[in-house]
């Protein structure tokens, strides 16, 4: 079985089958680039992901392994068309997978899924963040994401007034 060595930013190496790795758009491109530039067709590619640490990379690979037989979703799928993909594609396994994670890990996972071009994982993690936003009050958002208001004077009121032009369709 052809393998590829994927190395995290903090130096942990993961041996992954090329078939599995190619389910990530980014890793697929890197493997193909390696093949074109390498004289030895048997050589094992090695890819360093300098922005993703081991704990997160492990989670991405774990998710890919679980979903190895899913159809690959196009990364550039239209946003409007893509609405609902996350709900449709979210299995019980996905829910169990995400359940123990705190918001910080989820956000790292979103960045990793985006960077590695794993659309299914990106969908379910973005949907999880969305669930922390939709239906929440402004104060709840500030608490959940550790944010502080920096509006001054009547800026906040003015912003609210701008909203009156907009309607829910």
């Amino acid at each position: 079985m052809a393998l590829v060595r994927v190395i995290s930013s903090d130096g942990a190496a993961f041996l992954v089958s090329q078939r599995l790795a190619k389910r990530s758009g980014k890793l697929k491109t890197e493997i193909e680039t390696f093949r074109k530039s390498s004289d030895n067709s048997e050589a094992q590619p090695e890819i360093r992901i300098v922005t993703i640490r081991a704990e997160i990379l492990r989670l991405v690979l774990q998710w890919l392994q679980q979903h190895q037989n899913d159809p690959v979703l196009p990364a550039n799928q239209n946003e409007q068309d893509g609405r609902g993909d996350a709900e449709m594609g979210q299995s019980q396994w996905d829910r169990d997978f995400l359940a123990p994670m705190d918001l910080g890990i989820v956000m790292e996972l979103i960045l990793a899924a985006n960077h590695l071009e794993v659309k299914g994982l990106l969908d379910i993690t973005c949907k999880l963040v969305e669930s922390k936003i939709t239906g929440r009050t402004v104060d709840e958002i500030r608490t959940a994401f550790k944010l502080k208001s920096d509006f001054k004077g009547n800026e906040e009121e003015q912003t609210r007034l701008e909203n009156r032009w907009c309607v829910e369709n």
């Binding site: 960045l111 985006n114 949907k127 920096d150 907009c166 829910e168």
Partner: protein
């Protein structure tokens, strides 16, 4: 085969990968970096992720959250799109400029009759525009000139507040520049009868303008009473767009009987060999009394890939059968009103057997041509067509409506004796003499509830209920016997549908069993919001039947 993913070893942090390294890292920030504005990693998300998340968040929430903090507000404004309702009479005009700086996707304009400058910061993002009351033509043209990427355009005005377009070159140039326009709707909201002198100016300037050509037009909807001279204009417009048009939806094209001598569209179709290769949706109502129905026949006669067809063209069973035969692979929604002129006494549902994608079937027979079943070989007193072979209706059906027909109990029994995915069933008004062994019995209702596991709505006209089980005499509006108990049970279990519209709702069921209701045909309307509710109702119904049988 399971794929391998093994963690093999730990590299020293500074060790470089031997063969290839990532290049051009595209992340805007690394998690854990400190930031002056916020400690949340969320604030470091790149644009595409914000867009992805906001794609799931409803607009009302996004707007409310604009006051979380300035950066959050900026992200919402820059990475999501909004729908704007722009009423120029709105008092907070000082915020107008700020609103047009948002990423507007859908904009509704009203009361825009004074000179206006459409200062959209992102005009090419605007995909949907609706013009409603009191919008001047010059403002319409200004908006459309800058928002040239618009895909959906609607004019919803009243006759008194219509745009006063001119059929000139400027108008056609602006419209012809809308290269991506896919949906065009013109609806005139008027409650007055129109006379030929009050032709819609919007309609004339767009539909009636021979120079207007929209290269991407897929859907056309004209939602008002079109006069016969306008019908010819409409047909010319449709003909110009025949290559791209997928959906043609026009209500009441004429509303009046056309006398001879008018220009006809027939020549356009027949002589020029006009075809509509993309057309899959044809919704044309109000033509049963109108000569232009022949144009619709000709149009229908050549279609082979219709997915949705709704019309009241009065045609025979043979024509109907041919239309279904040609489109049986694709048809999903078929709604035929005022079916009449049947060629024979029989109309078999066998014609629908091959429609494997059909989900919504609506058949309404014209008053006076309703079906009386001739049972046992006796002679019927009047010439009546019979709808039979209900069992052969396709299993893909989710909604079924049969109105103006009486149905054999055995036929209904066979229809509901097997598992189906039907979600809504309407057995509507017959309003005619009933023969023996026709209509719905309580046992058939039980079978319906038992076998239609996805059933959510049932609407039964009371005169569709089997006479010997329900009513005394030909007296609509009164229930008795087991059906009265069923009705009481429905009320007790709160499955009576209270959301039926007023049009027919005021005569829903015997709860309005007043003198005023007697001239109407009451209905029993039931809605099962959950499947357990259907099952509970079914069980109680079975108990009722056991008690009734014992008596």
């Amino acid at each position: 085969m399971e794929e391998t993913c093994i963690e093999v070893d730990q590299y020293p942090a500074k060790r470089k990968a031997s063969s290839i390294c990532e290049k051009n890292i595209s992340l805007t920030a690394t998690i854990g970096e400190s930031d002056n504005h916020s400690s949340s990693p969320l604030m470091h998300f790149p644009k595409e992720i914000w867009s992805h998340i906001f794609n799931y968040v409803p607009q009302n929430d996004r707007l409310a959250h604009r006051v979380v903090n300035k950066e959050w507000c900026k992200n919402i404004d820059e990475f999501s799109t909004v729908d704007v309702n722009f009423n120029a009479d709105y008092p907070q005009t000082k915020y107008r400029k700020r609103v047009f700086e948002l990423r507007i996707r859908n904009c509704t304009f009203s009361s825009l009759h004074v000179p206006f400058s459409p200062d959209f910061k992102n005009p090419l993002l605007v995909k949907e525009i609706t013009f409603t009351t009191h919008v001047s033509s010059s403002n319409v043209l200004k908006v459309l000139s800058v928002c040239s990427n618009v895909e959906s355009l609607r004019f919803l005005t009243t006759m008194s507040s219509e745009t006063s377009f001119k059929e000139d070159e400027t108008t056609s140039n602006v419209f012809n520049n809308l290269k991506n326009l896919q949906y065009l709707e013109i609806g005139i909201l008027t409650f007055l009868d129109r006379c030929p002198k009050t032709r819609s100016k919007t309609y004339s300037a767009i539909i009636g303008n021979d120079n207007v050509l929209l290269p991407s037009l897929k859907e056309l909807r004209v939602a008002f009473l079109v006069l016969h001279i306008e019908w010819f204009q409409l047909f010319k417009f449709v003909s110009r767009h025949s290559v791209t048009l997928k959906s043609f939806n026009v209500m009441s094209p004429c509303g009046e009987r056309i006398v001879g001598g008018e220009q006809r569209c027939k020549d356009t179709i027949v002589q020029k060999g006009l075809t509509f290769p993309q057309l899959d949706t044809l919704i044309v109502n109000g033509v049963s009394e109108c000569a232009c129905r022949e144009d619709i026949w000709l149009l229908l006669d050549q279609q082979k890939q219709l997915k949705r067809c709704e019309t009241d063209i009065s045609q025979g069973a043979l024509f109907l059968k041919e239309v279904i035969e040609r489109n049986h692979k694709t048809i999903r929604v078929l709604k035929l009103h005022e079916i009449s002129n049947l060629d024979s006494d029989e109309l078999s549902c066998d014609m629908f057997r091959k429609c494997s994608s059909l989900q919504d079937l609506y058949l309404r027979f014209e008053w006076g041509f309703v079906i009386v079943v001739n049972v046992g070989g006796g002679t019927s007193k009047s010439r009546v067509p019979v709808l039979y072979n209900l069992e052969s209706l396709p299993e893909s059906l989710k909604r079924l409506t049969l109105c103006g027909s009486q149905l054999l109990s055995d036929e209904l029994d066979s229809l509901f004796s097997k598992k189906r995915v039907l979600e809504e069933v309407t057995l509507g008004k017959a309003e005619t003499l009933k023969a023996k062994n026709t209509g719905l019995t309580s046992k058939i209702l039980t079978k319906m509830l038992e076998n239609l596991e996805k059933l959510r709505k049932v609407r039964i006209s009371i005169d569709m209920i089997c006479e010997h089980e329900c009513r005394e005499g030909n007296y609509c509006g009164d229930l008795n016997g087991i059906w009265l108990k069923i009705w009481e049970l429905a009320k007790e279990m709160d499955v009576v549908d209270n959301e039926i519209g007023d049009y027919e709702g005021r005569c829903c069921g015997p709860r309005y069993n007043e003198e005023t209701c007697m001239s109407h045909q009451p209905f029993i309307d039931m809605v099962f919001k959950t499947d357990p509710l259907r099952v509970s109702f079914l069980n109680r119904l079975k108990e009722l039947q056991s008690q009734d049988d014992a008596v």
